[in-house]
C-alpha cells in the first residue's frame, strides 16, 4: 500500500502531466485516497497534488470529497502564506530603511517567485540573510518592530557564534530566522558552507511581497537547495525539497549556468550530495538536469545501494527519520568505546554557547547550568525509547543505524575526484 501510494504520488508530482495513467486513480478506494492525501500532506506537497488532480486528464477520476479536501489544504496553505508575507513586508521595509541589504532565502522566495502561486508551497518560517557586519544592527531593527528572540541568551552571540538568530513577534504567525552566513549544518569544516562574499557579489535584485529586495543568484539558490536537502537533512527532507529543486530548474531552465554550478560544487567537494539530489530530481520529478552535469558530478565510489538508501530516507519522511537524528546514529554506530564516550559527553554537555541556542535562558544567567539537568531529561525523553530498543538488540533498528552510519560516512568523506 505504502509503495503504491508513493509511486502514485511521485507520478502526480512529475513534470510530465501525462505520466500517471488515469486508470491508476480510478481504482483507488477511499482508503487509498486517504493514504495518498496523508502522504502528500506529510511531505508538504498536498497543494501540488491538488493542482495536478484538478486539471485534465486526471480531474475526471477524482471523487468530489477528495477534491474538496485537497482544495481545503490548498486554501489553508494560501492563507498561512498570506499571513507570512504580511509579516515579511514590514520587516523588509524596516531593514531597507536602516540601510541593511537583505537576501530573501528559501520558502518566501520560492513560493512567490518560483512556484508563482503562494498556495502551492507550504512555509513554516521566514528566512533572511543579512551581512554579518550588520547582523547586530538587523537585530536592533527587528527588536524595534516588536520581535523577541526565541533564545534570549543568543543576543550577545550575534554574530560571533552560530549562523543566525531566531525571533518571533508576540502574536505573530511564524518565526523569523535572520542568518548572517549560510552554513550547512552537518557539513564538515572542509566543506563548511557557501562563500558569503561570493553570495553577496552574485545576489540579484527582486521584488518580493511588493518590496524591492535581493535573493541569491540562480546558481547559488539552486546549490543552496541541493546542499540543504542533501548534506543538511541527509535526504530526510521529504518530497517538498525535491519538488523545490525540480520546479526551480523548470522555472530557470534557460538561464542556469550549469558550468558555474559544476565548478562551485567541485571546488567545495560537494559532488556526492549534489549529484544524488539532482539525480533523483531528474529521475523522479523529470527535472531537466543536463546529462553531462550528472555525469561530471557522479561519484566514482558510490557504495552499493546508495540510491535506494537515499530514496528510503527521502520518501520515508516522518517515520524512521524523525526518531533517528544524526547524533543518535553517531552514538549507536559500531565503534570504539572512546568514540562512544566522547559522543555521549558532547551530547550531554554541549558548550554554553550551544545551550543558549537550545533553551530560553536569560542572557548572562546562572540558570544556564540548571538547564544541563533539563538537557539530560530531554535527551532521555527524546531518545530513550530508541536507545532501549537498540540496547536490547532490535534487529531492524540496528540495521537502520548501520545503513545510516554507512551513508553518513560515505557522504561526508571528502570527494575522491
Amino acid at each position: 500500500m505504502e509503495i503504491t501510494t508513493c509511486a502514485t504520488l511521485l507520478d502526480c508530482l512529475h513534470r510530465d502531466e501525462h505520466r500517471l495513467d488515469p486508470a491508476a486513480l480510478s481504482v483507488l478506494t477511499d482508503e487509498g485516497w486517504t493514504a495518498l492525501i496523508e502522504m502528500a500532506t506529510r511531505h508538504g506537497v498536498a497543494p501540488l497534488l491538488y493542482r495536478r488532480l484538478k486539471a485534465p486528464p486526471l480531474a475526471g477520476c477524482v471523487p468530489d470529497g477528495v477534491r474538496k479536501r485537497l482544495r481545503g489544504l490548498y486554501l489553508n496553505t494560501a492563507a498561512c502564506n498570506m499571513r507570512l508575507y504580511e509579516e515579511l513586508r514590514p520587516l523588509l521595509l524596516a531593514l531597507r530603511a536602516a540601510g541593511i541589504p537583505v537576501v530573501v532565502l528559501k520558502g518566501a522566495y520560492l513560493a512567490e517567485q518560483v512556484y508563482r502561486n503562494i498556495a502551492l508551497r507550504p512555509m513554516g518560517d521566514i528566512d533572511l540573510l543579512v551581512p554579518a557586519s550588520q547582523a547586530r544592527e538587523a537585530w536592533r531593527v527587528v527588536k524595534e518592530l516588536g520581535y523577541r528572540l526565541l533564545y534570549p541568551a543568543t543576543e550577545t552571540l550575534i554574530p560571533s557564534f552560530g549562523k543566525d538568530f531566531v525571533c518571533r513577534k508576540p502574536g505573530g504567525f511564524a518565526p523569523v530566522e535572520i542568518h548572517w552566513t549560510i552554513r550547512i549544518a552537518g557539513i564538515s569544516d572542509k566543506k563548511d558552507g557557501m562563500d558569503d562574499k561570493e553570495l553577496w557579489q552574485n545576489a540579484r535584485t527582486i521584488r518580493i511581497a511588493e518590496i524591492d529586495a535581493m535573493t541569491l543568484s540562480i546558481e547559488d539558490f539552486l546549490l543552496h537547495l541541493c546542499l540543504h536537502a542533501s548534506y543538511q537533512h541527509e535526504f530526510a527532507f521529504g518530497l517538498r525539497g525535491l519538488c523545490d529543486i525540480a520546479i526551480f530548474i523548470e522555472r530557470f531552465e534557460p538561464e542556469i549556468d550549469w558550468s558555474a554550478l559544476r565548478a562551485r560544487v567541485s571546488r567545495h567537494r560537494w559532488c556526492k550530495g549534489v549529484y544524488l539530489i539532482l539525480y533523483l530530481a531528474s529521475v523522479r520529478m523529470g527535472a531537466a538536469v543536463p546529462e553531462e552535469v550528472l555525469s561530471a558530478l557522479k561519484p566514482v565510489d558510490p557504495p552499493a545501494g546508495v540510491i535506494e538508501q537515499v530514496e528510503r530516507r527521502l520518501f520515508g519522511a516522518g517515520a524512521e527519520t524523525m526518531a533517528m537524528t544524526s547524533n543518535t546514529i553517531d552514538f549507536f554506530k559500531p565503534g570504539r568505546l572512546g568514540d562512544w564516550a566522547r559522543v555521549l559527553w558532547r551530547r550531554l554537555f554541549p558548550s554554553r554557547e550551544e545551550m543558549t541556542y537550545m533553551y530560553p535562558i536569560p542572557p548572562g544567567s546562572w540558570v544556564l547550568y540548571g538547564y544541563y539537568l533539563v538537557r539530560i531529561r530531554d535527551l532521555m525523553r527524546r531518545h530513550g525509547a530508541v536507545a532501549w530498543r537498540l540496547l536490547r538488540g532490535d534487529r531492524e533498528l540496528t540495521e537502520t543505524v548501520r545503513r545510516r552510519a554507512a551513508l553518513r560516512e560515505w557522504l561526508f568523506k571528502a570527494d575522491a575526484q
Binding site: R51, R71, Y74, A78, A79, M82, E86, L120
Partner: protein
C-alpha cells in the same frame, strides 16, 4: 437582510491574493479565510470597482449566461456569507 442596493467593501484587516485561478481572502484579525473560484473572483473584482451589489449584478449579467433571478440569489448568498465571516463589511 441584504438587498441588491447594499454598498459593500473589503475591510481594512482583510487581504486578498490571486492564487492560480482563485482568489483567497484572509481576515488577519480572525484568521478566517475564504477561497473564491473564477466567478467569485470576478464578483469581488467588480465589487471593489463598483461598490454596490446592483452595479455588480448588472455587469455580471452582461458577462455570464445566467438569469437575473438566479444570479441575484447567488450573489446575495455569497455576499451574506462573506459578511458573516467578516470578509466584507457595509461601506
Amino acid at each position: 437582510m441584504l438587498t441588491r442596493d447594499a454598498r459593500l467593501q473589503i475591510p481594512e484587516q482583510v487581504v486578498t491574493r490571486q492564487v492560480g485561478d482563485e482568489t483567497v481572502l484572509l481576515n488577519l484579525e480572525s484568521g478566517i479565510y475564504f477561497g473564491l473560484d473564477p466567478v467569485g473572483s470576478r464578483f469581488l473584482e467588480l465589487l471593489e470597482a463598483e461598490g454596490t451589489l446592483a452595479a455588480v449584478l448588472a455587469k455580471m449579467l452582461e458577462e455570464f449566461d445566467v438569469t437575473e433571478t438566479q444570479l441575484e440569489a447567488d450573489l446575495l448568498r455569497l455576499a451574506d456569507e462573506m459578511l458573516a465571516s467578516g470578509l466584507l463589511e457595509a461601506a
